[in-house]
């Protein structure tokens, strides 16, 4: 089914939708008794909602394809992640909560170790700890503030990573990575990948910035060089308001998820990654928005750590928060995930994610428990995650009839 433009069908009936994402929720049947984390967890509230609502499975990007957090969430918001791609630099900016302005060009930096001839001996500078990296970034930020009239902004990321943002007039983002992807050679010079004056200007300025950075870092024992990847501007996409007529808000304690939500025009509400406090934050702004994206992080974290028991515990914590969300009386309440993170794999995976959609307008199915295997028999079926937004709008009464 090709994607459908819903703009002319969208209507505002004052209804409210809550998308409660339990990050990385999906698992594989690897636990005791051949259970997934969700099947092993005690989730009386989600189970009740599953009985009263309808369930199914969502495939975030494409069969067999493991999504990153950006694509996984974009799909839930109704943005096909294959069509709506974010350059690595812009994603990195979103990830650290750096709001790119129109025209900014961002790149992801990796600190590296260079030998006396300037050749790379370690592409990740021994994975220096975040604290150390932070100090190096401060040093760079103090030393390099402007080049040729272009402002140069620096932001630490995790471990050996950092963010570089060039701000000024006439910058393009068609610039090659300077990471040669191997050791024993020197970093590459940034080169324009198109023949616009804008990309040439970025390549020129970036070259100067990176050379200066090397001078500043000359005395560092490990991080004495820097590699830049994924030069990119912030994408300018039609907002969730334009596409789906929704005033949308995000409550997410982790900058990355706020960043992605803001790329589609959501308003950021205070968040802490403590689920009950985050629900309270949502409740405080209940009257101001139509659509709330509430993010719960700990499920994914436990999955990434390969900790089955911790993931079960996290799921149970999220479940306990459901009644507080229900108290707000949303018209549509959805519990699902951006992707699977089975503890058995200690990483994101391609497995479809369980979804439960509760609404008064739902056609109930036979699913009486919220878990991956039970959802296989759900009335929503197995479908792309991008179907979730139109289904939410339909159940909320926010789509007019198509044709007479």
């Amino acid at each position: 089914m090709a994607s459908m433009d819903l703009r002319h069908l969208v209507q505002d009936n004052g209804s409210k939708i809550v998308l409660f994402v339990w990050d990385g929720l999906g698992g594989i049947t690897s636990g005791p008794g051949g259970k997934t984390e969700l099947a092993a967890a005690r989730t009386p509230n989600a189970d009740r909602l599953a009985r009263e609502g309808c369930c199914g499975l969502l495939e975030p990007v494409y069969p067999g394809v493991t999504p990153g957090s950006g694509p996984g969430h974009l799909a839930l918001f109704g943005y096909d992640p294959v069509e709506y791609q974010i350059g690595r630099g812009a994603l990195e900016a979103a990830g650290v909560g750096f709001d790119l302005e129109h025209g900014d060009v961002a790149a992801r930096l990796n600190f590296c170790t260079l030998d006396s001839k300037g050749c790379i001996t370690d592409r990740r500078a021994g994975r220096i700890p975040t604290d150390e990296s932070k100090k190096i970034v401060e040093k760079l930020a103090k030393a390099i503030k402007e080049v040729d009239g272009i402002r140069v902004l620096w932001s630490p990321v995790k471990e050996h990573r950092a963010l570089l943002v060039l701000r000024g007039e006439g910058l393009g983002d068609g610039v090659e990575d300077t990471d040669p992807q191997r050791t024993g050679v020197a970093p590459l010079e940034p080169k324009a990948t198109d023949d616009t004056a804008e990309s040439a200007r970025t390549a020129d300025v970036a070259g100067k910035v990176l050379r200066k950075a090397r001078e500043v870092l000359a005395g560092e024992p490990k991080a004495n060089g820097v590699l830049a990847r994924g030069f990119a501007k912030r994408p300018h996409w039609p907002s969730i308001q334009e596409r789906f007529g929704l005033k949308a808000a995000v409550v997410a304690g982790t900058p990355m998820y706020r960043g992605v939500a803001k790329l589609v025009g959501m308003t950021e509400l205070p968040a802490t990654n403590e689920v009950e406090r985050d629900v309270a934050s949502l409740a405080e702004h209940w009257n101001e928005f139509d659509y709330f994206f509430l993010h719960y992080k700990h499920t994914d974290k436990a999955g990434e750590d390969g900790d089955f028991a911790a993931k079960v515990k996290a799921i149970e914590e999220a479940d306990r928060a459901l009644p507080s969300v229900e108290k707000l009386r949303p018209d549509v309440l959805i519990v699902t995930a951006d992707h699977s993170t089975p503890a058995a794999l200690s990483s994101h995976s391609w497995h479809p994610v369980p979804v439960l959609l509760w609404a008064r307008t739902v056609r109930r199915d036979t699913v009486d428990r919220f878990d991956e295997v039970a959802c296989t028999a759900g009335g929503l079926g197995l479908r792309p995650s991008t179907h979730l937004m139109p289904l939410a709008l339909g159940h909320a009464g926010r789509l007019a009839k198509f044709g007479a």
Copy 2:
């Protein structure tokens, strides 16, 4: 899955397909015991066919999108309703059984009430009854037969609605509505929306027709003005014969469904909306066609009225007609719907519709009862309604092998 052109696979093996549409059949689990209308109904024949055949669920247009009757049927005929859109005027013509000729431009009229300054006080003329409206249309038809060499044809619709058709050479349909969508202002003049001479000609003629109409209606107490919407020509689409190699017939007692079927090239057979008589009409022409679209209206009517019990009764009536259809020994017999019309919502809805496909070539599934929830476990799965036509052709042996 993108749509596939089946023309080079189509073969004629003399097999026969019956598509029996129970209009608006799908419901939600809102009835006694959490049942849908179909689950509550006694349907021994459909249940038997479900046991011998295979079942599933069809999504007519797009997830969450509520289809009008036109789109819902087009999808069942294998025409993606997002790709095959009908202008409102042409749909209105189909709805009253007015066969638009090539070049005709149709518009939907609403009678309205104007004050002494010519400003609209009621956009629907107090929803005057159909009888009254019919007389007004007759008056207009007598008074305005031709303008500038263009024939002007009038046809009553329901209540305050009517159909206007302009017939002649060189007319375009790029013309704006004259309904300002609010009261307190005068009707708009018809304006061309493109810069072709054809659309300008239609705008000019329509302007004259509408001014004359106002003169004719000057003495009317309520319907003393007229608003035109949705100027459109009849779409020219590849027929069901061209696309699927089928000689197709429609048996539908309501003009709207006949009209849509005729847009894809079906031949109209006599019909009454009395189901046993309509099956008899089909039987009389059994040898002349390959594909029969048999329409049953009362299920939708009861759903629209919000009458759960009446919908159950209508379903049972349709079920009782099944043996008469089976007696004809179709190779493929399908029972499904154009869309859901849950009595609980008193309107069309976006919920997928149940489908049962009976054929000797079917792979039977475990479904032993024809209802929405049972169909969730069906072998046909949940899929777009546009998949039904290729499935029907396949089970009828009408598609050659693809590739060697």
